[in-house]
């Protein structure tokens, strides 16, 4: 199929979606009647309604939907010199995805080992980092929400947030300084006589995983905190009064109650970790390839935008699958997550 239909598709899909939503709204009104009271427009006036629709529409369509659709469109096109774009050779193709799996045909195994491995490591490491984050943040969030007195809570919040005033790249460099062969940690360990020669934390990826774990900690703490905070303290006391030991109270009462927070925290952290760029570029060892720098390289080193788009799309689809999986695991609907 010729790729010039792509432009039409990119523009047509949002329009069709909008129409679908409009029809859905009309159908709902007919099916449920006007039980919901006067419409939004009637309550707030036409200017407010139009302003809101325009702004939200601009935000979703121009800033999110169109660029993404364009990227998807791009990922199915061949890399061509600008002059030939839209020409007879601009046909839809799966070449870019094929390249991710099989490479340029240079590898001995026939598979694109480097990229596939980087991709799998990225996904696996992101899952582990997400779990680690959850394990770190749950006790902290519980302490903040149910144990800490007001003054200590404010202090804790401040301590948690302040480091994030520093730029992400600077924070990554700080970890490099901390974990470097000549870094603070090695010097301290050597000085204490625990080591005879420095450990290569960066080469072993310790620095990378530590940096990534820290990078999105807040996005785990706050959804968890919010979820646990809304739990009635009497629920905890009732469980305790009925004889439950502390771990049972968490298992039976706190965790089920905070499912939305856990789901929202894990998906946020997973997505951002899997898509992190700064920390991997600064902190990964010479032998490690994180997937996002590869995507970056497709765009700006190989200057192969269609291929970069395909790689990014693969990552995006994987992340969406992860989110849906998490929601399924916690038996939550998409809307419930951010209650």
């Amino acid at each position: 199929m010729h790729a010039s239909v792509g432009k039409i598709l990119v523009l047509a899909v949002p329009v069709l979606l909008l129409l679908a939503f409009l029809l859905l709204g009309l159908w709902e009104r007919r099916a449920l009647g006007r039980a919901a009271g006067p419409s939004f427009v009637a309550r707030n006036g036409a200017p407010v309604a139009i302003w809101l629709v325009l702004m939200v529409g601009f935000w979703t369509i121009v800033l999110i939907v169109l660029p993404l659709l364009h990227m998807v469109d791009l990922s199915f096109r061949p890399k061509l010199p600008p002059a030939q774009v839209g020409g007879p050779q601009d046909l839809y193709t799966l070449d870019n995805y094929r390249f991710f799996l099989f490479g340029g045909g240079f590898s001995a195994s026939g598979w694109n080992d480097t990229h596939i491995q980087a991709f799998l490591i990225t996904i696996l490491a992101s899952i582990l980092i997400t779990i680690l984050n959850l394990a770190l943040c749950y006790p902290l969030a519980f302490y903040m929400a149910k144990v800490a007195p007001e003054a200590r809570l404010r202090l804790l919040m401040l301590l948690l947030v302040t480091p994030y005033w520093v730029n992400e790249i600077l924070r990554a460099f700080a970890f490099r300084i901390l974990f470097g062969t000549q870094g603070v940690l090695n010097k301290a360990l050597l000085g204490a006589g625990l080591l005879t020669e420095p450990i290569d934390f960066i080469g072993q990826n310790v620095a990378l995983y530590a940096g990534l774990s820290y990078a999105y900690l807040l996005l785990m703490v706050f959804p968890l905190y919010n979820a646990i905070e809304s739990l009635d303290r009497n629920q905890l006391e009732a469980a305790r009064d009925l004889g439950a030991p502390w771990w049972r109270i968490h298992l039976d009462i706190v965790i089920p109650h905070s499912r939305p927070g856990i789901a929202s925290g894990t998906t946020l952290v997973f997505m951002l970790t899997a898509g992190a760029l700064a920390a991997p570029q600064v902190l990964s060892g010479p032998n490690t390839l994180w997937f996002t720098p590869i995507v970056y390289d497709r765009f700006y080193q190989a200057f192969n935008w269609p291929q970069g788009a395909a790689y990014a799309f693969i990552l995006l689809v994987t992340c969406i699958v992860f989110v849906l999986g998490v929601l399924r695991l916690f038996r939550l609907g998409l809307g419930e997550m951010h209650r």
Partner: protein
């Protein structure tokens, strides 16, 4: 016989604030015992101290003769019913009731049998698989009771569990609670600020004020023979006439009030010259007092009709408001504005020292 619950000079402090001050009380096994007091009087704190959710700063809590110091709420033979019930919204009725058994490792089949039995007791058979939000207020109430009873506590603690219900249901649940208590024969410790509730249900009542237990006794004793001005005015309504003791004789005390010398019972043996308050219940105040009665004059005000009774308001010469309760056929109502003679038999009024006993150390 050892007391089901023994509080031995229990004091609870939160920082500089003393919530409960040297509370001592002995609750017998199988008794329906109420703590009655206004909000903030420390009664809930005291209940939480019995349950173990709060540790006393001083004093001891004994349950079934065993000192509970250092024993957490999950290992005490008590079960608490919270004011908001605190049912677990993500669990079904059966899971709620069985929760205490589940955490104790009771096998599934035994749990199910016990749940059936309890649902029978609370008259909710077949509700096992319902969600909590499908139940009405009264049904939730009963599930909360069943959940607490499931763990077979020695003492059931109830923290104003009826306060969220409407009047009719509350009266129904009073009887329900009382009958459940009789059937299971447990010790109930009940917290309420509603004196009607306390009087109707309890074997004995402890009246609390500012963290201090002012009086312990049967409902009748607390109502008819209050020992402190607070008890006299909090339990039921009372007309108060403050003054100074003029003379005492034959168990009666004569008080110099703003309306002249007036007499009432003197259970405590007051000293002459002591400041005291004379209390008269609205139902003891009479419109056409007999010759030998204590008499005062007051201007009639509005009538408040309450169905079974009517309350007539009066204002005395020194601006004090009095209430007189009449039955349905209370005779002629005085027209508002007319000055009437009111009175009471000296034996129907009570005179109490205005200051609480110094050895209680209130302040």
């Amino acid at each position: 016989m050892t007391a089901a619950v023994l509080l031995d000079r229990v004091t609870v402090r939160f920082g500089a604030f003393t919530a409960v001050r040297a509370a001592s009380v002995e609750i017998a096994a199988g008794e329906f015992f109420s703590f009655l007091g206004p909000s903030g009087c420390g009664k809930t704190t005291l209940l939480r101290t019995i349950s173990g959710l709060v540790e006393p700063s001083e004093g001891r809590v004994l349950i079934g003769g065993r000192d509970m110091a250092g024993i957490g709420p999950n290992r005490r033979p008590t079960a608490l019913i919270f004011q908001n019930l605190a049912l677990f919204p993500l669990m079904s009725v059966a899971e709620n009731i069985a929760y205490g058994l589940k955490v104790r490792g009771v096998p599934r089949a035994a749990r199910r049998a016990r749940v059936e039995e309890l649902l029978e007791l609370i008259a909710l058979p077949g509700a096992a698989d319902k969600r909590i939000d499908e139940l009405s207020g009264g049904q939730r109430q009963r599930v909360a009771i069943a959940r607490a009873l499931a763990v077979e506590p020695q003492v059931l603690l109830l923290d104003e569990p009826l306060s969220a219900l409407d009047l009719k249901l509350r009266q129904h649940m009073r009887n329900e609670l009382r009958s459940i208590q009789r059937r299971v024969g447990l010790t109930f410790v009940y917290i309420t600020h509603d004196q009607g509730e306390a009087l109707a249900m309890s074997d004995r009542i402890a009246v609390m004020n500012h963290g201090v237990i002012e009086q312990v006794g049967t409902g009748r004793a607390v109502y008819e023979a209050p020992r402190t001005p607070f008890v006299a005015s909090f339990v039921g309504e009372s007309n108060a006439l403050p003054g100074r003791v003029l003379a005492t004789a034959d168990g009666l005390a004569r008080v110099a009030t703003a309306l002249g010398p007036l007499a009432g019972r003197d259970p405590a043996g007051l000293r002459v010259g002591e400041e005291a308050i004379l209390f008269v219940r609205p139902e003891c105040l009479l419109l056409d007092p007999p010759e030998e009665a204590e008499r005062i004059e007051a201007r009639a005000g509005e009538e408040t009709y309450e169905g079974s009774t009517s309350h007539l308001a009066f204002t005395t010469a020194d601006g004090r408001r009095l209430t007189l309760a009449t039955g349905r056929d209370g005779g002629e109502r005085p027209a508002p504005g007319t000055v009437c003679t009111l009175g009471w038999r000296a034996r129907d009024a009570i005179v109490l020292a205005s200051r609480t006993d110094p050895d209680r150390g209130d302040g």
